[in-house]
Amino acid sequence: MPSVCFYFEVHQPYRLKPYGAQQVGRDHDYFDDKLNAEVLRKVADKCYLPANYSMLRLIERTDGRFCISYAITGVAIEQMKRHAPEVMDSFVQLAETGAVEFIAETYYHSLAALYDTDEYEEQIEQQVALIEEEFGQKPRVFRNTELIYNDEIGRFIADLGFDAMLCEGADDILDWRSPNFVYTAAGREMRLLTKNYKLSDDIAFRFSNQAWAEYPLTADKFARWVHGHSGAGDVINLFMDYETFGEHQWRETGIFEFLEHLPDLLFTHPDWDILTPSQVIDRYPALGELPFHRTVSWADEARDISAWRGNAMQQRALSEIYSLGPAIRRRNNSHLLALWRRLQTSDHFYYMATKSASDGAVHDYFSPYEGPYDAFIHYMNVMKDLNRSVLAPVEKRIGI
């Protein structure tokens, strides 16, 4: 009896304000509070609130046969509590249905896995504690930032005691294998659930693309595609950003109607049901080990980590922030520690990516974002101020 498994990522970073050379040494508030509040409220109105409402109704209507899973970053929860507490309330309400599983990740949506494993572990512990506190669940399943995964990360997470981890079903990793089965991490018993990127991206990326041959995508059509896998897999993993609903795909595209109808249409085939990740690993056996010969993520065509450290600027910024670790920890100051960690959020480095094609980018001029170079400049100015104004004075005192 094959299953569909839904997992949604909920994340909002603390965006930096434009921070010029003139501010270094004078201005120690790095984040754009106004923008961050605006974005959170906007996304709450367009996505979180209506989508949560839809999910809740679907769960109630199907008596829990429709079930889902979320990973909500700590920095997103902090900002929701501050700017849109009703969103947190509705997530709690969802948790209370018993049909929603919460998945662990790093509190700060960081790249610590690649730079500082002690830090990585602490951010995971912090997030697990938050999920327990907010939703009353102890997560069994883990997803790393942007599904970044390699064998080393797999072993590390397995050794922390997680039962399963989510990762991208990249073609070159799966090779002849299907993403629609459960695997184990190399050298560990921990299960791996691999994203069916074809079907996931049909919803997340292509849903409203009028140039796409399958446009418009109806719930009926999608359910038939899923049912077409009968007998050829145990589980179809549909992993995507939660903002797909109402934000990446606007309400006008019909994404909410699609969501509304999908569960019933999936259930029209008697063999198929819907499970959360924990239920998947409890029901289906692992087919075998799935080794990753490279670091994979769910970003970009390349499905690698070049979105965050593909150029010299990103590498510099990352090495800069992680090299501060010892100095920050020595201060034993929770405020400073939180500040440092907010600066680790992967989005900062994502903004510095220079990969998008040069062609057809004519209207960057009108974009509210000022591009990768300004992102790097602002970030490095913040680093300079943090070093000079916050860290340096104390280092001096200690020296004496």
């Binding site: 050379a21 003139q22 220079t354 040069s358 209207h363 000022e370 790097f376 490095m380 100015n381």
Partner: protein, 494 residues
């Protein structure tokens, strides 16, 4: 498809980017099978344009080449003008210019011969100071120089009737007529430009009379009167191509007569081509031309054969920040100076080079003095050839803080020397560049911050340079021609 293109200059005798742009564009169009007659006011004989038929409006042609239906007598400029546009005939500027041309022609026999002797020394984009400097440094073509310096061989053009206000600003460089002193507008133009524009319209019309074209393509306001008249006579659609607007060059000091010529060209055109979205919206704002009548075709650049491997010949110890261009209102030099003062707080050994000349140069020197940063500034004046190459290749960053720049080719040139560039958002080139830093020209704090970052962060420099090297390969004239040919086709089909 056979087209007539009306230009104002053609390499190597150029005063700005227009001639170079025309060369690039026609080369790429010819590769796509477009047959081009290209008409300029004067040919010098050094032009090299195997890809098309280059015509000088003023060059004498053997009589048998004159089309049979061309008037054999001196044309009546008033008739030509009224035929072109009845509204034009009441325009004092044109009336005066044509009267002047006629008077001159009457004085020395046939108009055709006389045209030959009109030196194309009138540079529409130059202010007087730059113009003077070009003349003294010999950058202006020798023919023009002779014309300038030897009133014997070329009698001075007749002065416009002083009663006509529109021509008061048309005075000889360095020779301020008291009667013209009141008018500050238009002083950035050369002598008798309007007369030459009208004369060009007249001789161009005669030059191509009887020839058949699918369309007429006119570059910038100087050729618009000619374009309007030729297109009308030939019954062909007119495309006007805006490389810059009077507003770009002069801001609120814009010359209303030029603005009026621009507007008439835009109104008569079947389609308008703008070199950037920036220029497109400016045309719409200044002239009210409907946006859907204006297509954007970005300029290209020629690929440099080999990147000049200049050994860095630095004279200064500190990092070098370069401004290179006319020191005029349009180019925003004062924002460069203001940013420099802020950069020096962070990078005290930085050196700022303001290369070029123009009417704002003395003020810039004074401002630098006043800010107390004279020691960090160099004013090498107008650079040429190898000097420009050296300036680019020894700079650590090139800044183009233009207040209003329709396109702006210099940043692309700087990029071809592997220099990081900072461009104002008020430039067309900022639309096609991803791998440049962009800033509002007035935001000197941010400009300073970007300069500091480029000087201090090698990763920023390296990424900018590497990506830009890749990027400029895609900014070529073939892409421009690819956009233009379908526009031609749609215009011809009506």
């Amino acid at each position: 498809m056979k087209i007539l293109m009306l230009g104002w200059e053609y390499p190597p005798h150029i005063s700005g980017g227009l001639g170079t742009a025309c060369e690039g564009l026609t080369t790429a169009l010819a590769r796509r099978g477009v047959e081009i007659d290209f008409l300029v006011p004067t040919l010098y004989g050094e032009e090299d344009a195997p890809h098309m038929h280059l015509l000088g409006a003023a060059s004498g042609q053997a009589p048998h080449e004159a089309p049979p239906d061309a008037p054999t007598d001196r044309p009546d400029p008033f008739a030509v003008l009224r035929a072109a546009d009845p509204a034009l005939a009441t325009d004092p500027i044109f009336m005066a210019a044509l009267e002047a041309a006629e008077a001159e022609a009457a004085e020395s026999g046939t108009a055709e011969v006389q045209m030959l002797r009109v030196p194309a020394m009138l540079k529409p984009y130059l202010d007087q100071a730059t113009y003077q400097e070009l003349v003294t440094t010999g950058t202006l073509p020798s023919v023009a120089l002779e014309g300038m310096n030897d009133p014997e061989s070329h009698p001075p053009l007749p002065a416009p009737p002083s009663t006509i206000t529109g021509l008061q600003h048309a005075h000889v460089p360095g020779d301020h007529l008291p009667s013209a002193g009141e008018s500050t507008s238009g002083t950035h133009y050369g002598e008798n430009l309007f007369a030459e524009v009208a004369r060009y319209a007249l001789s161009a019309t005669r030059r191509v009379a009887g020839r058949k074209y699918d369309l007429v393509h006119a570059h910038d306001w100087m050729t618009f009167p000619a374009g309007v008249e030729i297109a009308r006579r030939a019954g062909a659609p007119l495309i006007v191509h805006v490389h810059s607007l009077e507003y770009d060059r002069a801001g609120h000091g814009a010359d209303r007569d030029i603005v009026s010529i621009e507007r008439q060209g835009l109104e008569h055109a079947t389609r308008v081509i703008a070199v950037s979205y920036y220029t497109r919206s400016l045309i719409h704002r200044v002239h009210g031309t409907p946006l859907d009548k204006i297509s954007v075709v970005h300029n290209g650049v020629y690929e440099r054969e080999t990147i000049q491997a200049y050994t860095e010949q630095r004279t200064s110890k500190g990092p070098v920040v370069l401004f290179l261009g006319r020191v005029t209102f349009q180019k925003g030099p004062e924002y460069f100076v203001q940013a420099a003062a802020r950069v020096l707080e962070h990078v005290p050994d930085a050196v700022f080079i303001m290369a070029g000349s123009g009417d704002m140069l003395p003020r810039m020197r004074a401002l630098v003095d006043k800010l107390g940063i004279t020691k960090s500034f160099r004013f090498p004046g107008w650079l040429r050839g190898a000097e420009i190459e050296r300036a680019f290749s020894t700079a650590d960053v090139y800044v183009m803080p233009s207040v209003s720049e329709p396109f702006g080719i210099a940043p692309l040139e700087a990029m071809s020397y592997d220099r990081p560039v900072i461009v104002s958002k008020q430039s067309g080139v900022s639309e096609v560049l991803r791998n440049a830093l962009k800033v509002d020209f007035w935001d000197v704090d941010k400009m300073a911050s970007q300069i500091v970052a480029v000087l201090e962060l090698p990763e920023l420099r390296r990424t900018l340079i590497e990506r830009a090297r890749e990027e400029i390969r895609h900014i070529h004239w073939d892409a421009a021609a690819e956009k233009l040919v379908p526009i031609y086709q749609s215009v011809v089909r009506g």
